[in-house]
Symmetry: C2
Subunit: 505 residues, 2 copies
Amino acid sequence: MKPIERLRALDAEAKLLEHIGAILGWDQETYMPEGAINERADQLAFIEALSHDKATSPEIGRILDDLGSTEGNPGGPESLPTIDRAYLRVLRRTYDQATKLPSELVSEIAKATSLSQAAWVEARKHDDFQAFAPHLSRMLEFNKRIAACLAPEKRPYDVLLDQYEEGSTEAQLTEVFGALRTDLVALLERIQGRPQIDDSFLHRPCPAAAQAEASAYFMKVLSFDSRRGRLDTTEHPFTTTLGDSDVRITTRYIEDYFPSSVFSTIHESGHALYEMGIDPSPEYRRTSLAEASSMAVHESQSRLWENTVGRSLGFWLQHLPRLKQTLAPVLDGVGLEEFYRAINRVEPSLIRTEADEVTYSLHVILRFELESRLISGDLAVDDLPGAWNDGMKRLLGVVPPNDASGCLQDIHWAMGSFGYFPSYALGNLYGAQLWDAMKAQGLDPKASVELGDLGSILSWLRTNVHKPGSMYKPGELVERVTGRPLDPSHFVRYLNDKYAGIYGF
Amino acid sequence: MKPIERLRALDAEAKLLEHIGAILGWDQETYMPEGAINERADQLAFIEALSHDKATSPEIGRILDDLGSTEGNPGGPESLPTIDRAYLRVLRRTYDQATKLPSELVSEIAKATSLSQAAWVEARKHDDFQAFAPHLSRMLEFNKRIAACLAPEKRPYDVLLDQYEEGSTEAQLTEVFGALRTDLVALLERIQGRPQIDDSFLHRPCPAAAQAEASAYFMKVLSFDSRRGRLDTTEHPFTTTLGDSDVRITTRYIEDYFPSSVFSTIHESGHALYEMGIDPSPEYRRTSLAEASSMAVHESQSRLWENTVGRSLGFWLQHLPRLKQTLAPVLDGVGLEEFYRAINRVEPSLIRTEADEVTYSLHVILRFELESRLISGDLAVDDLPGAWNDGMKRLLGVVPPNDASGCLQDIHWAMGSFGYFPSYALGNLYGAQLWDAMKAQGLDPKASVELGDLGSILSWLRTNVHKPGSMYKPGELVERVTGRPLDPSHFVRYLNDKYAGIYGF
C-alpha cells in the first residue's frame, strides 16, 4: 500500500467513528427516550475519544512527515499530484489541531456537551437561564482550554474563529461586520420609512401534517435524494452527516407560523445538497477531503437556497399553487405578489432563525460581539441575559420579554460552539458573490428559477462548490470560482435591489 | 480498584459498545435511508469487532484466572459472595466463547449479516428466494465456523443451541418437542372436530393511525416506561436494548388485520419489561449480569403477556371498550365473548408470528427440524423452499403459495441466528409453569387480570424473573422459582382447559 493510500485508510477509520458519533447524536435529538441521556453521554464520549485517538495516531504524523508535509508547507513538495497536496494540507491541519488536544479533554468535553444540550432544552422550555448557566460556564472553560492547547500565543477567540473559518480573526470580522452593519442600518431605515407589509395570513393556524407534506414537496423540488437522506423533527433544525450516503436534516412545525418549517426545510436541504454533492471518487470518499471547505461556505449554500432562491418571486410563481393546495385552506385568497411581499417582510424581531434577510446579520453581529466578550472574560455568564437584551435594543430596537426568546434561543453555545456564529453572516456574503459569478459566467439563475429549472443552478454549484469538498480553503475557493476575493458589496447590492422593489423606494 | 471491580469496568466497556451497535442496528431497521446500507455494514462490523476485542481482552482472562474461575468451576471458590460467583460464571462463559472466535471472523460476520438482512427484506418483498439464497448459504457457513471454533468435538447444531439456551441439545429437544407435538396434534384434532369460529370482523380495514393509538394504550396498560423506551414500526417486530434505560420495541400495522399490531406490541412489551426490570444496582448495571437468563426465558415473558394475559377473557373484559372506541367503527357491534373467541380462533395457517397458541409450536418444530438439517448438511439451501412446503403440509396441513409467506417469512436465518427458534416453544413451556407457580404461591393472576390489576403479576415477575438477570442459568431459574424442573404438562393443561372452554368440548 502506498503511503498516501495508507493515510486514506487511517483517515477513513476516524471518519467512520465520526459518523457513528453522528448517528448517536442524531438519535439523541430525534427519538431517544429521556431516561437514556446519561448513558448516551458516555457512549458519545467513548466514541469521540476513540475517533480522536484515530485522528491523532502517530502513524498519520509519521506518514505526513515522510511525504514532506510540514506546518509551513502542509501540502508537501510540488511534485505531488494536486489532489494529494490538497489532501496533505487538510490532514496536516486536522492532525496538528487534534494532536494538540489531550484525549481525556476531548472525552470530558463530549460528555459535558451531551448534558449541556439536554439542560439547554429544559432551560429553554422553562425559561430558566440560571439552570443553564453552569453548563454555559463549563462550555466556555472548555473552549478557552481548547484555544490554549491549539495556539497559546494567539487571542483565544481568534483561535476559535479559525476552527470554523480558516484565517478569519476578530479584527478582520470587526471590520467586515462594521461596514455591513452601516449598510444594513441604512437599508433598514429606508424600509422603516415605508408602509409596513401585512403578513398576518402567514400566522393562520396550519396543522403539522400539512406542513410535513409541504416539507417533503420542497425537498423533492430541490432534488434532495431521499435514498441518501431523510427529514425528521427536532427542537432546533439541523443537518448532520451519518455516512457518505446518509445526510439527515430536521425541521420543526410551528402551528401558527408555517413559513418556519418551509424555509428551514429549504435551508437544511441546502446544507444537505452540499454534503451529498461532494466528489464520490476514491480519493475523496470517507476522507477528510470529503468535507465542506468551511462553515461559512456551508452557510452560503443553505442561505442561497433559502433566500436567494426560496424567497424570490420566480420561485413562488412556480410553487405557490402547490403550497396553497397542500396547506388548504390556510392560504385561500392569497395572491402571488401578496405572498412574496409577506415572506420578505422586514421587521426587527427576537429570534435569529425567524429573522428576515435584512436584520438577520444584525442578530449574528450581536452574537459575535457577546461571544468574543464571554471568551475574553469581559462579560460574565451571569450578565449574559442583560447584555443580550441591551444588545438587542441597541442593534434592533427590540427587547426579548424572556430568556427563552433571548439568549437561550440558539443551541450553539450549549453545544460548545463559540466562533461559529460569524459563519452565518459570512455565508450571506459568499452566497451573493457566488450568485453574481453564475451571472458573469453566462447563467441566468433568476430566469432559471422563474422557469422552474433549479437543476442548472444546482449543477453549477455542484461543479464549482460541492464537488471539490475541502480541496480549497474558503477564501481560495471563493476567489477561484468568482475571480475575486470576498467582497461584501454583492450582498448589499442584492438586498438593496430586492427591497427597493418590495418596499417601493 | 478490587479485581472484581476492574472486571466490571472492563465488562462495562464491552457493554457500552454492544449498546452502540444496537443503536446502529435499530436505526438501520427503522429510519436509515436505503443508500446508507454499505457504510452501515462497515460501521456495524467495526463496532462489533471492537466490542469483541473488549470482551476478549486478556486482562479479563487474567482476572478470572486470578479469582479462581475455571472452565470446570466457573464461579470460583465458595468463599466469594454469591453475586460475585454468579458474575464470574457468566463472564467465564462469555469470555471462553468469545476468545474462541477470531475477531476477523466476528467482523466479517457482522458485515455479511447487515447485507444479508437487507437482501432478505428485498427478497421477501419480491418473493425471490434465489436472490436471498447466497446470503443464507453464507450465514450457514458462518454458523458452522462458529460451532467449530466453540466446541469442535460437539455436534455443530448442539453448539448453536447452547448459545441461546445453555445446556439444551438436539436430542433433548427432539424428545420434548416430540411429546409436545403429540399433545398439540391431539388437541388440534378435537378443535377441528368442532364448528369453526367466525373472526371475519378482525379483518375489517383499520387505519395504521388508530392501531398506533391502540399500541400506545396497551404499552401504558402494561406499565411500559416510556421515559426508558419507545415504539417504532419495522418490517418485522423486535425488541432491542440500546442502553440500561433505553429499550425499544417495534411493531407493524397491517391494515386489514389489526390484531397483528395489538398482539405484537404486547409481545414486545413483555420482552421490554424483562429488560427494564433487571436489577439496577451497581453490581448489575452495564455488566453481563444485567442480561436475560436465556432467550427462552425472554420468550416466556413476551408470550405470557401476549397470550396468557393478552388473549384472556378477563383482559378484554377490562380493555375491549377502550379498543372499540380507539378503532371505531371497526369493532362496532362486536361483543366480549365474540371478540375473545375470535382472537383465539385456532386454524393451521402460514405465518408463525400470526399463528394461534395451539399451532404456534408446530411452526417452531418445523424450523427446528429444518435448521438442524441445514446445519448438518442433510438439507441443501436450494432445497429449502421445497422442504419447507413439505413440512408445512405434514405438520399443519397447509402449503404456502409462495416463499414470501413460506421460508422467507422470518428474519432469524437472515440475521444468522440458527438454534434460536426452539426458544419460542420453550418460552411457552416456561411461561405456563411460571403462571402455575404464581397460583401455587397464593397469587390469583386470572382474577387480577379480570380486575385490571396487572401490577401484581408484573411485580411477581420482576422479583422472581426480571430482577435476577442472568444470576441463574435458565433451568436453575425455573427450578428455583417454581420448585420443579421444566415440565411441559403445565402448558398442555393450560391449552386444553382454555380451548375446551372456547370450542366447547
